[in-house]
């Protein structure tokens, strides 16, 4: 009996201890190569897996009047090309994170990370080749890592560059997006279209999938490299990324009308326009295309026009002169985007805050 007892207790332990731990056999298919430009031990598997969050490609659009599902205070990412305005609602992006779209002749990927609150328009034409981006399922500093389907390279959304794979080191070309409420966007562009909920995926778009994450400042699901308590973690701010330098603008610097800030970052003149009540901030490089610098001031009640200059030009929220001697000129888009404060602090520890001495 004793022999049975000893055998009975020991053999299962011996059996199981003899096995190895680790990734199993031929699984673990992540695209990319071994070389990363970011610390690999700070890249984490987000849980759903590669394409577990399905990106949309050229989805169906409907008119603003047909979009009864959207409430006025829902946030959207707006994009304008030529005379065409399109809105990409957060409540669809929360479930898909990337929308690969074609607007006129512009191949754009609207990338949105629900964990960092960052929505950025990416050119999906790389070296002359049009690609689509998918959700890799990986996160760096809690932020989305899209992958391009042509080469499988992994890109960092907030760093705006490729961090792994064939395109490693390549910079992202950014298209300007306006993040604001559906109400404000419709006021600016009444003929806008918006992504339909008929996406081909069965999801409950009316439900935010991350619980209290948007407002719980202590709720960070994944590690970040740097934390900074100058703002609360989930406060939405605008960040301008210019040659590795970053400056952040908070709604606290704006009031409930259009405000304009003429600023300089890293030797480059920039202009920031925003309205706290209407919930938007945008930024452009203060160069109308001829190397000159303009002095901007705010325009009220004429959306989408938000500012004018000393020459009498009227500039819209997309940085285009819609009236005046420079009509149809464009301000170069700054690499700027809205996001939760903690995400800028995580990626750019040396950032400055507008208004801080």
């Amino acid at each position: 009996m004793k022999r049975s007892l000893v055998f009975g207790i020991l053999w299962p332990v011996m059996l199981l201890m003899g096995c190895e731990d680790g990734p199993a056999g031929n699984g673990a298919i992540f695209s990319g190569s071994d070389s990363w430009s970011i610390p690999r031990d700070e890249v984490f598997d987000g849980g759903p897996g590669k394409d577990g969050i399905p990106a949309l490609t050229e989805p169906e659009f409907i008119s603003a009047g047909e979009a009864e599902y959207l409430s006025d205070d829902e946030l959207v990412l707006g994009f304008v090309h030529g005379d065409e305005a399109r809105a990409y609602p957060h409540d669809i992006l929360d479930w898909h994170e990337i929308i690969n779209d074609l607007v006129g002749d512009v191949n754009i990927s609207v990338t949105y990370c629900p964990l960092t609150g960052t929505g950025i328009g990416w050119n999906r034409e790389i070296d002359g080749n049009v690609t689509t981006f998918g959700v890799s399922g990986l996160l760096y500093n809690s932020n989305l890592i899209p992958y391009d389907r042509s080469t499988g390279s992994n890109w960092s959304q907030i760093r705006l560059d490729c961090v792994n794979g064939e395109h490693i080191g390549k910079k992202v070309e950014v298209f300007p997006l306006v993040e604001t409420t559906w109400f404000t966007w419709k006021e600016m562009y009444p003929t806008t279209t918006v992504v339909s909920r008929n996406t081909g995926h069965d999801r409950n778009y009316g439900r935010y999938p991350y619980g209290n994450y948007r407002t719980a400042h202590d709720n960070l699901i994944f590690p970040v490299a740097n934390e900074d308590d100058r703002f609360q973690n989930k406060e939405r701010v605008l960040g301008i990324v210019q040659s590795g330098r970053v400056r952040v603008y908070s709604f606290t610097g704006f009031d409930d009308k259009v405000n304009v800030i003429n600023d300089e970052l890293n030797g480059i003149d920039v202009v920031v326009a925003g309205n706290r009540e209407d919930n938007f901030m945008v930024a452009y490089i203060n160069d109308p295309g001829d190397g000159s610098t303009l002095s901007f001031s705010a325009v009220q009640g004429q959306y989408p026009v938000v500012m004018t200059d000393g020459e009498g030009n009227m500039w819209d929220v997309n940085g285009r002169a819609v009236a005046g001697p420079r009509k149809d000129a464009r301000l170069s888009p700054a690499a700027s985007f809205m996001g939760y404060w903690f995400s800028f602090a995580a990626f750019y520890p040396d950032l400055t805050i507008y208004g801080d001495s």
Partner: protein, 333 residues
Amino acid sequence: MRYLNYILKYIIVAQGILVSGQLPGYSQTCCSGGVPLSGNIGFEGAESGTLQMELSYDLNYLATLKTGSEIYEDGTRQRTTHSLLVKAGYSIKHWLAIDALFSYVFQGRRITFDDQINQVDTRGLGDAVLMAKFILLNLPEAGSELQLGIGPKLPLGRSDLTNNFDITLNADMQPGSGSWDLITWSYYARQFVKRPTTVVSARIVGRLNGTNREYLGTQTYRIGNSVQFYLGIGDNVVWGNMILSPSLSLRYRYADGDQINGQTLENTGGQWINLLPAVSWHLSPNSILHFVPELPLYSEVGGTQLTPTFRMQLGFYHSFGRIGKNKSNTYQL
């Protein structure tokens, strides 16, 4: 024996806290693909000196995507957990036994998107459970059986496995939870007076979970506490020269949401009701082969999760030494 009274009272109180504190207020991150430990611990009572062993294979296949109780028509995501379970129990006295459960786990995650398949697999030694059981009533003597058990779940499994590119996988794909947990277990079975081979049984298993303080290096992760209720009926039938024990059980499981850094994760936890039509084949007086499929009847998950579509278990049981004359026939999943 005075200490025994304290221990038994503690088990009852702990289970009471689990049951009253959890219901329904909501275990594994993003899906319910965890290793089936607490549901498998605990043998039926046996005479002192008896060693009971069991080797089983457990499959948990998850392909049902839900928000709350609403099912999405989505066939893109699949999770599988294959577990090899080795269970041993030794009856020290007629009123005291010790059970142990060890696991080895193979986990897989498959995404199908635009006809491309992305598969991630992990494997590893899973966590283990040790449990002391106190047999208050014994089936052969009293016509009913009552056991209470308590013990730790040992974090033997790794919780920091990486994929082939050295990227740390999330908690759901780890074979271990990285935490010390407390398991409470109670079991009651009763024979029918007119048909002693027919036994009804009930089981409550509670799990109070500790915290993994090294999750993703710097985070804390705590799997939500859970409680399970089993209710079953089984019998012996003679078929040719074989003795078969068909049984039917109902399982209710409630799990609280997981927590990262003390914050509840949205897409975790929930409640599940499953039906378990099982059959056991008595190969000899001391050996039993059993098959237990598990069919989901109802579930309401926290947030949006993959939830079990099908489960099954195949196992071989053997006892060394004397076993009770009238074993319960409701297989304990």
